[in-house]
Every structure is written in structure tokens, then in C-alpha cells.
């Protein structure tokens, strides 16, 4: 998938033949009829489009929540329980899509990952699933240590190794535990800082989208440059998360 963002996502118009309400024939809103209120058949759209939003990453979460509640009042199966079976099925599908979309978009990381997924960028390398799978099967997972962490990770691993050795022999080295604890706090601070770094890339992405919508289309290269930066931040973030998890596990035992 090497298509540009704007060809795959965005506030696409609905297909021609779905412009009118199946029930009363009026022009309809995307998910329900503005005239008679009936739930409409779901259209296969992405989550941004579902909420009528452009594919931008800086997002007003409070407004999203308002829209979520408003759409829930129209689409939820409880409010269509007396409708025909066809409408009930549409209500179920529309409402699950609404919930899936809201859950994804309201969370900054899930939102970014989703946009990258739409852009055809794979994140599997550091993903939670891949990690868990590797853990459970005992396979050695390819871990790409972010370059700026190389030194710290090397040192931390040495310390963790020593801690485990101590535990085996029943020794306790309070200084070592304290040192690891300090490292953990540093990692957690870095983890938080990465979200802020990610947000600077959001702004770059959003301005490309704005520019494109103003008529000066962003090139595939320009878009790819921003997405690869986001992938980099997410990978580093995941790496640190897994590391903190390992540290916690080692300290607990």
C-alpha cells in the first residue's frame, strides 16, 4: 500500500445511491435520516470519516465525546429495539462501528496507530502482540534498541542480570535496587516525553493535510517523511514500555 493519505482517507462523500433515506426518501445524514430519524445501512468508511472529521491528529476530544453521545442516541440498538429486523441489524453494525471509532480516536496513541494503519505503515515489530507471543513461545524477538537508548539499556540490562543473580543466591543489594529504581523513573519520564514529541509530528501531519485541502497536494514523500517519524516515536515508546515492564517484574520477584 503506497497510496497517499488523501486518496485512502478523508471526508469522502457517500456513494450516490445512498444519498436518500431508504425509508422516507429524504436526503439523509450519514448514519441516520435527518428527516425521519431512521438508522441507515452502514457505509464502509474509516473512523475519521465516520465522525465527519478530516484525517488530522490534533483532535478536540471533548467535541468527539459530544458527537459520540449524540450519535449513540440515534444509533444504539436499545433505541431501535422496536424497529424491523433489518433496521435492528443496521443499528447493531452502526453502533459497534461508532463505539470502535470512538474508542480508537479518543486515545492519542491508538489514534496515531490507526492513522498509520490507514497509511499502510506496519508497526508490528514492537507491538504488544508480537512481544507477548515471543514471551509465551520463548522465541527470541528481534528487538531494535533505539540508538539514543543503547548505552542506558546496556547498563540497565547488566544491573538486572546482577539483581537476578543476587536473588538466586538469596543476597540483597539495596544500593542496586535503588539504582534500578532510579533508572526506572528516568525511563518513565522519557516515556511521557515521547508523547509530547509525537504531538509535534501530529502538527506537521495536520498542516500537510490542511495544505492539501487548500489545493496544494502534499507529495507522497512529504507524507512518508512525517509518518516515519511517528513510527519511530511509537517504536521507541513501545520499547521503553516493555523495558519498564521487565524492570517491574524483576523488582517484584
Amino acid at each position: 500500500m503506497t497510496k497517499s493519505a488523501l486518496t485512502t482517507i478523508g471526508a469522502k462523500p457517500l456513494p450516490e445511491d445512498t444519498h436518500s433515506c431508504w425509508s422516507c426518501g429524504s436526503m439523509r445524514a450519514a448514519h441516520f435520516c435527518g428527516s425521519c430519524g431512521k438508522v441507515q445501512p452502514p457505509a464502509p468508511v474509516d473512523y475519521f470519516t465516520f465522525f465527519g472529521l478530516p484525517p488530522k491528529l490534533n483532535l478536540d476530544v471533548a467535541a468527539l465525546e459530544r458527537d459520540f453521545y449524540e450519535l449513540s442516541r440515534r444509533l444504539h440498538p436499545d433505541l431501535n429495539a422496536t424497529a424491523g429486523s433489518k433496521e435492528q441489524q443496521w443499528s447493531l453494525e452502526q453502533s459497534s462501528m461508532l463505539n470502535d471509532a470512538y474508542r480508537t480516536l479518543r486515545d492519542p496513541i491508538k489514534r496515531t496507530e490507526y492513522l498509520l494503519h490507514l497509511e499502510g505503515v506496519a508497526l508490528e515489530e514492537q507491538s504488544k502482540t508480537a512481544t507477548e507471543q515471543a514471551r509465551a513461545t520463548g522465541a527470541i524477538k528481534k528487538q531494535i534498541v533505539p540508538p539514543d537508548l543503547l548505552e542506558e539499556v546496556f547498563e540497565l540490562n547488566m544491573e538486572l542480570e546482577e539483581l537476578r543473580k543476587n536473588r538466586k543466591t538469596g543476597e540483597e543489594d539495596p544500593a542496586l535496587v535503588a539504582e534500578i529504581g532510579k533508572q526506572k523513573v528516568l525511563l518513565e519520564t522519557k516515556y511521557e516525553a515521547l508523547l509530547e514529541e509525537l504531538k509535534t509530528h501530529w502538527t506537521d501531519w495536520d498542516s500537510l493535510i490542511d495544505r492539501s485541502q487548500a489545493g496544494r497536494a502534499a507529495s507522497v514523500e512529504e507524507l512518508a517523511k512525517v509518518t516515519s517519524k511517528m513510527v519511530d516515536v511509537l517504536n521507541r515508546r513501545n520499547y521503553i514500555r516493555n523495558l519498564v515492564r521487565d524492570v517491574n517484574a524483576a523488582l517484584e520477584k
Partner: protein, 642 residues
């Protein structure tokens, strides 16, 4: 809502709300603006969730069955909810503590069957008997068939337990419009008259299950943000502790081993439950139980001892509460209100624990035994199209457990995380590993653990009829959807050919559609006939009541005040009712009753006046025999049906 005045549908058929509890069950409905509980034919709101077989192998349910529990324990069963949707291998703990007698011919992988006397029943069938009893109470109340219901389940029930509950509804002849989580239902009952915004925690400790739910209330939307719990934690566990102590005492002090004596154990159980309840209001209580052989077991329990004893049980609710707060991203001080639900929250020590956990005084304004059923009635009203009382109310609930799929290495790949708002869906893609492979097996799991073997197996799906292609070429899109009941649906499509792939489901624990279908037929035919028979019996009873009241009326001074014409009319209608009552035509009896009721209206008024003036003359009302005049309310005349 839609810029127009909302028209609420006329209540054509009654949708009831049912709390199918471990210990007690209730049925409620929305009467105008308030939910009310419908009493049973014994006039009581609570129907004990106990089922027994009488000497003729006919089921008896509720209080009558409770007596059977002591007299013929091998023909009775209680707390069946603990076995709903479970397999024989995961009830070993229950079997230690509860007198469940499994069928001897149970095959591995088969749905549990419980022995009652000489018959065997699956847990959904036993629950269906309880549901059918509630259905009858509602039918008696409305004077017409009831076929639709909302049934509550513990929030922490998994897919199999939910499915089993839905099956029970179908077997009882009820269309289950929605399964609602119990704590959420309770919040609806509380929220009905307090339409405020804020964060509410519902702590629900019942007879056999514990739930904690955290909700965000926002202009009528009840959004669950996190839920947690334990489906095998409740008052039963406290009872079992007390029973164990009593049995050990008896063995130690009297040298009498009653562990295997079912009658004695049930007698002890009854006594310790009474003691437990008394200890919520008294500082100490005396147990005094008559034992086989004439000896007595006597023991005093102080509240302090009791609280010490139950501490480990109630402490098990702390972990789920903390996890739910963590999942909701909230600290105790961010929670505005705490609501208590379930009979076990009457225990002062439980209240103290909740107060400490959430750092505020919990709400107890509504009866903790009834609040879930009342909430179910509210939800039933919303589903039926709503009313002014429920306008703008909407429940957004979550799935309590993550849904996963087994992938290489026996690992669970989570595809829908716990606490996701439902309905929720996830799409997965599958392909083949061998050229021409036509089937793909999918193993669906529920739970939070990393390894598949530590999670609950929900079902195995076989994707069939994949068009023959080289390995890795087919692309089968499988959609997993959790509906608003918390129940999973799976559909599949092969993308290259566009063909709908056939899915064959093998539920890991549960009845197949065909099994449920046959159970419905067994009991449903009876249910319809039962209803007609009951209707007739009730009408006959009512007719008899009116006729005897009229006899009394004729002896009252009021009778003399009627005109000759009026008396003639009444006599004619009396004759008509007596004639109709001799036949089996329900409608004719009903019509004659209504006519006589109408025709004796003035007589009733005169009798009332006479009574009042007699009273003024210095006589008491008691001395004036009013009789059960035609105006006396008689919608729920007591009747025998079995």
C-alpha cells in the same frame, strides 16, 4: 428528540424486567413513571430461586420448594445460577460446598445435568422453571400473556453464562430482548429520579456473585467506564463458612458426623442464614438447632466473631474494586456516589468496607433486594420505545472480559479489550497453510491471561468451504461482534472469491440451538395450555368471590334501598354468571363478571354509605359485615394451579 414531539408507543404488550438471582428472583414492570415489583401468588415480591420436584415429579418453585429443600433435599436444588454456563471441570469447588447432584451418565463435554429425584435437568432448564413462575405472576397481574423480557445478569458473567441465561429465557417461552448487567440496572433505578451528572460506583454483593461497576452519568446517558467482579463470591460463601463451623462443632462436641446428612445440613443452613441476617441488626445471636436423634446444637455467635469470620470473604471484593478504578482511570475521591446492591450489602461490616474503599457513605435508599429488578423494568421500558419517565435515558455498557483468539504457540491474541463499550467489533484475516485447504479452525477465548489455556474457551469455529487455492492465497475476513447483550457473533467472508464462508460453531460450554429448541417445545406447549387453564381457574375463583359477596349484600340493609327493577336486573346477571361459570368458556365468564360488577355498582355504594352511617351511630366497622362486596379489589385472587 428529532425536532418533533416524541410520540411514545401505546403499551400493547408488556415487557417485564426480571432479576434472575442466585438466592431470590423478581419480576417488575414500569407502571406509569415508576418501576414496581409484581408479587407472586403468595403475595410476596421475592421468589426464592429454589426448584424442587413433588411426589408426582411436578416442579414446585419458590417458597414451597424451600420447604422441600429440608424435607426431601434430594429432590430440590438452590443457587443454580452458580452452574450456569459452566463445565463439569470448573465446578469442582462448588461441588465441595453445594449439594448439587450431577447426573451419573454425564459425558465429557456435555452440558451439566442435575438430578432432582429421578429426573435430570440442565441449569438453563432449572432457571427456566424459575423464569416461568415469574412469567406466570406477571400474566396473572396483567391478565394476559407475557412473552418479552429483559433479564439481568452479573456484569462479570462471561459469554457462556450469558448465553445460558438467554437459553433459559427461551425455554421459559420468553423472548429475551436484552440481558442487562445487574449493577448497571441498579444504576438505572437510582438514576431515574436523580437525573444528575457525575461518576457513580455500584457495589453489588449478592447471594452468589460480586460485581463492581463504575459509571459516568451524562444527561441521561449511563456510560459504564469499567467493570470487574467475581462470579463466585457472595452470601452463599458466608453461609458455607457458618455451616462448616456448625458441622465441625457437632462432630467435635457431640461425636455426630452430619456432613453427609443432607436433611440436617439443610436445617443447619436455614438456621445459620437466619442468624446471619439477625447479626446485621443485633450484637449477638443464639443458634439452636434440633439434630437427628433429638439432640440440640446450641451456640452463641457475637457480631465480632462473625465479622472476623467473614473478613477473608469480603476482602475478596477489594481487588476487583481497585482494578475497576484503575481501569476507569479514577481515584476514590473522583467518585461522586456509591450505591449498594444485593442482600449481602446489609451486613454492617460490608458497608464499613465500602466506605473505607471509596471514602464516602454509600447510598442505601432503595431496597438492595429489589433495585436490580426495578432497573430491569426501566430498561424494558426504554426498549419498548420509552415513556416520558425514561426519555433521553440510554445505557452504554461494556464487555467485562477481553475477547481473544488462539494464535501460534498457544498464545491469546486479544482483539477486543475488556471495558470496551458494546456493541463492539474486531476484524481478523485468516489464510490457509496448505494448498487446497478448505477449512480453517478458529479458537475463541475470553479472559485476561496471556496463554490460551489460562483463558476461558468460548467456542471453536470451523471456517468451511474456502475455495481451493494455493496456500496463503485465500484471505478470509472474520468479523467478531459483541452485541449489546455481551454475546459474541461471528461472521466470515472469503475476500478473493467474495464467498460467505460457512461457520460452524461448537460452543465450549452450552446448549446447541437444537437442544434449546427441543426444550422449548417440551415446556412451551404446556405453558400455553397452562395459561389458558390458569386463566379459567382464576376467572372461576373471581366469579365465586363475587357471587358470595352478592349473597352477603342481599342481607344488608342497602339491598332494601334498591328499586325492584334494579333487583331484577341484578338477579338476571347473577343467573347469567352462574350459568357461564358452569361452562369452560373463559371469555363468557369474564364478560358475565364484568357485567355483574357494573350492575352492582350502586349496591356497593349504598352498602358503603350504610356502613359509614352505622359507624356514626356508635357501631364499629367490624360489627357491620360489609362482606367482600363487588367493589372490593380482586385482581389477584389467590388461585391454585399445579
Amino acid at each position: 428528540m428529532l425536532g418533533k414531539v416524541k410520540n411514545f408507543p401505546m403499551a400493547t404488550d408488556h415487557i417485564v424486567g426480571i432479576d434472575l438471582g442466585t438466592t431470590n428472583s423478581l419480576v417488575a414492570f414500569m407502571q406509569g413513571e415508576t418501576p414496581v415489583v409484581i408479587p407472586g401468588d403468595d403475595g410476596l415480591n421475592l421468589l426464592p430461586s429454589v426448584v424442587a420436584l413433588d411426589g408426582n415429579s411436578q416442579p414446585i418453585i419458590g417458597n414451597a420448594a424451600r420447604n422441600a429443600l429440608i424435607e426431601t433435599p434430594e429432590r430440590a436444588v438452590y443457587s443454580i445460577k452458580r452452574l450456569m454456563g459452566r463445565g463439569v471441570e470448573d465446578i469442582q469447588d462448588e461441588l465441595q460446598l453445594f449439594p448439587f447432584r450431577l447426573a451419573e451418565d454425564l459425558q465429557p463435554g456435555e452440558v451439566l445435568r442435575i438430578k432432582l429425584g429421578e429426573k435430570t435437568f440442565t441449569p438453563p432448564e432449572i432457571s427456566a422453571l424459575i423464569l416461568r413462575q415469574l412469567k406466570r405472576s406477571a400474566e396473572r397481574f396483567f391478565g394476559g400473556p407475557v412473552t418479552k423480557a429483559v433479564i439481568t445478569v452479573p456484569a462479570y458473567f462471561n459469554d457462556a453464562q450469558r448465553q445460558a441465561t438467554k437459553d433459559a429465557g427461551r425455554i421459559a417461552g420468553l423472548e429475551v430482548l436484552r440481558l442487562v448487567n445487574e449493577p448497571t440496572a441498579a444504576s438505572l433505578a437510582y438514576g431515574l429520579d436523580k437525573k444528575q451528572n457525575g461518576i457513580v460506583a455500584v457495589y453489588d454483593l449478592g447471594g452468589g456473585t460480586f460485581d463492581i461497576s463504575i459509571l459516568k452519568l451524562h444527561d441521561g446517558i449511563f456510560e459504564v467506564t469499567a467493570t470487574n467482579g467475581d462470579t463466585h463470591l457472595g452470601g452463599d460463601d458466608i453461609d458455607n463458612l457458618l455451616i462448616t463451623i456448625a458441622l465441625d462443632d457437632i462432630r467435635g462436641d457431640l461425636g455426630l458426623d452430619l456432613h453427609r446428612n443432607a436433611e440436617a445440613v439443610q436445617a443447619i443452613r436455614k438456621a445459620v442464614i437466619e442468624a446471619k441476617i439477625a447479626l446485621s441488626s443485633q450484637p449477638s445471636v443464639k443458634l439452636d438447632i434440633e439434630l437427628p436423634g433429638g439432640k440440640r446444637y446450641q451456640r452463641e455467635i457475637t457480631r465480632q466473631q462473625f465479622e472476623q469470620l467473614i473478613q477473608p470473604v469480603i476482602d475478596r471484593t477489594v481487588g476487583p474494586c481497585k482494578q475497576a478504578m484503575k481501569d476507569a482511570g479514577l481515584k476514590p475521591e473522583q467518585i461522586d456516589e456509591v450505591v449498594l446492591v444485593g442482600g449481602s450489602t446489609r451486613i454492617p461490616k460490608v458497608r464499613a468496607l465500602v466506605k473505607e474503599l471509596f471514602r464516602r457513605e454509600p447510598h442505601t435508599d432503595l431496597n438492595p433486594d429489589e433495585v436490580v429488578a426495578l432497573g430491569a423494568a426501566v430498561q424494558a421500558n426504554i426498549l419498548g420505545g420509552g415513556s416520558p419517565a425514561t426519555e433521553n435515558m440510554l445505557l452504554l455498557d461494556v464487555t467485562p472480559l477481553s475477547l481473544g483468539i488462539e494464535v501460534a504457540g498457544g498464545v491469546t491474541d486479544k482483539i477486543i479489550l475488556r471495558n470496551s463499550t458494546i456493541p463492539a467489533s474486531a476484524t481478523q484475516f485468516y489464510t490457509t497453510q496448505v494448498d487446497g485447504q478448505a477449512n480453517v479452525a478458529i479458537h475463541v477465548l475470553q479472559g485476561e491471561r496471556e496463554l490460551a489455556e489460562d483463558c476461558r474457551s468460548l467456542a471453536r469455529f470451523d471456517l468451511k468451504g474456502i475455495p481451493p487455492m494455493a496456500a496463503g492465497i485465500p484471505r478470509v475476513e472474520v468479523k467478531f461482534l459483541i452485541d449489546a447483550n455481551g454475546i459474541l457473533h461471528v461472521s466470515a467472508r472469503e475476500q478473493r472469491s467474495g464467498k460467505e464462508a460457512e461457520i460452524q460453531v461448537q460452543p465450549s460450554y452450552g446448549l446447541t440451538d437444537e437442544q434449546v429448541e427441543s426444550m422449548i417445545l417440551d415446556s412451551f406447549d404446556n405453558a400455553e395450555e397452562d395459561f389458558r387453564r390458569r386463566q379459567l381457574v382464576e376467572a372461576r375463583n373471581e366469579a365465586a368471590t363475587i357471587l358470595s359477596a352478592l349473597e352477603k349484600g342481599k342481607k344488608s340493609p342497602a339491598w332494601g334501598q334498591l328499586t325492584t327493577d334494579e333487583k331484577k336486573q341484578i338477579a338476571k346477571m347473577e343467573k347469567a354468571l352462574a350459568a357461564a361459570n358452569a361452562e369452560d368458556d373463559y371469555a363468557a365468564i369474564r364478560k358475565a363478571i364484568d357485567a355483574l360488577n357494573q350492575g352492582t355498582m350502586r349496591l356497593a355504594e349504598l352498602m358503603m354509605d350504610t356502613a359509614v352511617s352505622t359507624a356514626l351511630k356508635g357501631k364499629t366497622m367490624d360489627e357491620t359485615d360489609l362482606g367482600e362486596g363487588p367493589t372490593a379489589p380482586h385482581p389477584m385472587a389467590k388461585a391454585e394451579f399445579e
